[in-house]
């Protein structure tokens, strides 16, 4: 990918308070059988 000339490069340090990554998907609970009264 052409992102420009290397000699113009400068460094940035980014430490987000919270990483921009979604949480893991919640585990699906098994459907419960109706319990007879």
């Amino acid at each position: 990918m052409d992102i420009g000339a290397p000699e113009t490069e400068h460094e940035i340090e980014i430490a987000p308070l919270e990483e921009p990554v979604p949480s893991p998907a919640p585990a699906e609970e098994p459907a419960q059988e109706p319990v007879p009264a």
Binding site: D2, I3, A5, E13, P16
Partner: protein
């Protein structure tokens, strides 16, 4: 030697991905490196055959690449497909992609150690921010949305 600026907000930039099926699931794959899959719901980490997890390294070409603008990402797509047109909303034209080989263009969050140039970035960590599918239908958009938990717009 470079001066280093520090921030707490991720950079949001633009890039392209291939969308390919792995086992039973579609995955985003690096556009320029074949069979490098982006994990779902986990950060993608730069790795370098020379510098390992220290990527991106100054004076080298390692790291996760992204462009500063959508137009620059579209330029790469035009070079790839050999056509001149815009993709994604509000444009509806589809490029002549191979059947079953969709592409995603979208924004990506970048953080960690990032090296910035005129047109883009090389980053240590990344995760997709949102995606516009080219050559993909609603069912694929739904699958990617569920898997990566980001907005995905079908073409």
């Amino acid at each position: 030697m470079s001066s280093r600026a520090a921030f707490v907000e991720p950079i949001v930039a633009w890039r392209l991905w291939h969308v390919r099926r792995h086992d039973d699931l579609y995955r985003l794959e690096s556009f320029t490196w074949h069979h490098v899959s982006w994990p779902a719901r986990a950060r993608f980490e730069a790795e370098c055959s020379t510098h390992g997890a220290a990527a991106p390294v100054e004076g080298h070409e390692c790291g996760i690449y992204a462009f500063k603008t959508r137009e620059l990402a579209e330029d790469l797509l035009r070079r790839y497909t050999g056509v001149r047109q815009h993709y994604g909303r509000p444009y509806q034209e589809l490029p002549p992609l191979r059947q079953g080989c969709p592409i995603a263009i979208g924004r990506v969050s970048l953080w960690g150690r990032v090296l910035a140039r005129e047109n883009g970035f090389r980053a240590q960590y990344a995760y997709p921010y949102d995606l516009f599918l080219i050559g993909g239908e609603d069912v694929l958009a739904r699958e990617l949305r569920r898997l990566y938990a980001v907005d995905v717009w079908p073409s």
